[in-house]
């Protein structure tokens, strides 16, 4: 290396330090900046036919999360929901029976993911968990519900008291359409007041139990009582 190359201005070092300072500043004010940009980006994304702006951070819209190897599929015909455990009448529902035998409820609430994204005012249609439980007849000693999924991996849980709230839904419609495979169709849970990991996709079974069995993410550190705004160390505005 020549002496000439050794002298010169240390611009490289200054750039590295500058980028680090910028990154630190971003960490410090990012939460506030994001609040401001989220609204703008969500508006732009909702009017963008290409959907590309939806891919920007905070661009609104759903993100796809699955812990299973592939998107599982059940058609409207071969879908089954079993209700068992501490109930008087263990039942297996087809999708048709869910829609016709039990009262239908439509909820419009924000969806809030624990990783930060939020989709405002999303309509879900289905059967209230409390109606499913009433039809099955809960036996004394029951304390909680355990949900299993036909992806073969995911599980969730609710206490009986939480499950009987009027905003806990066994959903078969989203945005007034059948729920797609990717969104957890044909039937998924929609736990409106809780972070979206509580809303198990591809719901296959509801078992009434005498104690709470922590679900998939809850064994990996998420709060079992996943209330939006008062769990997982987050302070989001409540969704329900």
């Amino acid at each position: 290396m020549t002496a000439d190359e050794r002298r010169g201005t240390p611009v490289g070092r200054r750039v590295v330090l500058g980028v680090l300072a910028l990154g630190a500043a971003g960490v410090a004010v990012g939460a506030r900046v994001q609040k401001a940009t989220d609204g703008v980006l969500a508006t732009v994304a909702s009017k963008d036919p290409t959907g590309l702006t939806g891919l920007l951070p905070g661009g609104g819209g759903f993100r796809f999360y699955s812990v299973a190897a592939s998107v599982p599929h059940r058609s409207a015909d071969n879908y089954r929901l079993t209700v068992d455990g501490l109930v008087e009448r263990p039942t297996t529902y087809t999708l048709k029976q869910l829609k016709e035998d039990l009262p239908s409820t439509r909820l419009v609430r924000d969806v809030q993911c624990v990783t930060g994204w939020r989709v405002p005012q999303t309509a879900f249609t289905g059967v209230l968990l409390s109606d499913v439980l009433a039809a099955a007849g809960v036996r004394p000693g029951a304390m909680a519900l355990r949900f299993t999924c036909f992806d073969g991996v995911y599980t969730e849980s609710l206490t009986l008291e939480q499950a009987r709230r009027p905003d806990m839904l066994v959903a078969y419609g989203m945005r007034d359409e059948p729920i797609t495979d990717a969104h957890g169709g044909p039937v998924r849970l929609y736990a409106a007041p809780m972070y979206f990991y509580k809303s198990a996709k591809w719901l296959a079974g509801i078992t009434v139990t005498d104690e709470v069995t922590p679900g998939y993410w809850e064994k990996r550190g998420y709060d079992v009582d996943g209330w939006v705004g008062s769990s997982n160390g987050r302070d989001d505005h409540p969704t329900s």
Partner: protein
């Protein structure tokens, strides 16, 4: 010391440097591919297996430091880092000359390569820091974790664009790629692209 014939190829990178580049490219490439599968809905639907992807992403990100740190043992690598750091008089106005198609002589690395190196180094460190904040939630309170997520998301986009540009430039210059693959470049190429580069006798 034997005097090399005037048309003998020039050594541009040592074996150690080429392995540092390969290993860093493989590890950072892994973080970028897993990032795409974690972030883009279309790819997430294909892959699923979120916790596996996250684990691979985290560890390849941490491991990406190793080749560079180990590389500091190499004298040639340290010398090239010093070259990348220092901007000489010929580097000033380099971009302007490139855009106006005026002659823009460079030493072993041109000003664009130097800027790329420092932006990529700083950017990778920022991604590492913000990544650790998200990986270990107990490190920082919520407001900084949200901030870290914000920086990590946008940083990924910018760094992705930067690295895409890096690969685009490489794809346009087969001899520069040969320099990294074999370690040697022709004297003609060096004169054309790095007129002011004066290889020291040990190179």
């Amino acid at each position: 010391m034997t005097i090399p014939p005037p048309d003998a190829p020039l050594r541009r990178f040592t074996v150690a440097e080429r392995w540092i580049h390969r290993a860093t490219a493989a590890l950072l490439g892994t973080t970028m591919v897993t990032a795409a599968f974690l972030y883009l809905p279309l790819l997430s639907e294909l892959a699923g297996r979120r916790d596996l992807l996250v684990t691979v992403h985290e560890w390849s990100g941490i491991a990406a430091l190793v080749p560079v740190l180990a590389g500091l043992l190499s004298r040639a690598f340290r010398a090239d880092l010093a070259r990348l750091n220092r901007f000489g008089p010929h580097d000033r106005g380099w971009l302007r000359s490139v855009l106006r198609r005026r002659p823009h002589p460079s030493a072993k690395f041109n000003a664009g390569q130097k800027l790329y190196a420092s932006l990529a180094a700083g950017g990778t460190l920022v991604m590492l820091g913000t990544g650790l904040i998200m990986w270990f939630p107990r490190l920082a309170p919520l407001v900084y974790r949200t901030g870290a997520t914000f920086v990590h998301d946008w940083g990924a986009l910018l760094l992705g664009a930067l690295v895409t540009g890096h690969m685009w430039m490489a794809s346009n210059d087969p001899e520069a790629r040969a320099g990294l693959r074999t370690g040697f470049v022709s004297r003609a190429w060096a004169r054309r692209h790095h007129e002011l580069w004066e290889p020291s006798p040990d190179e």
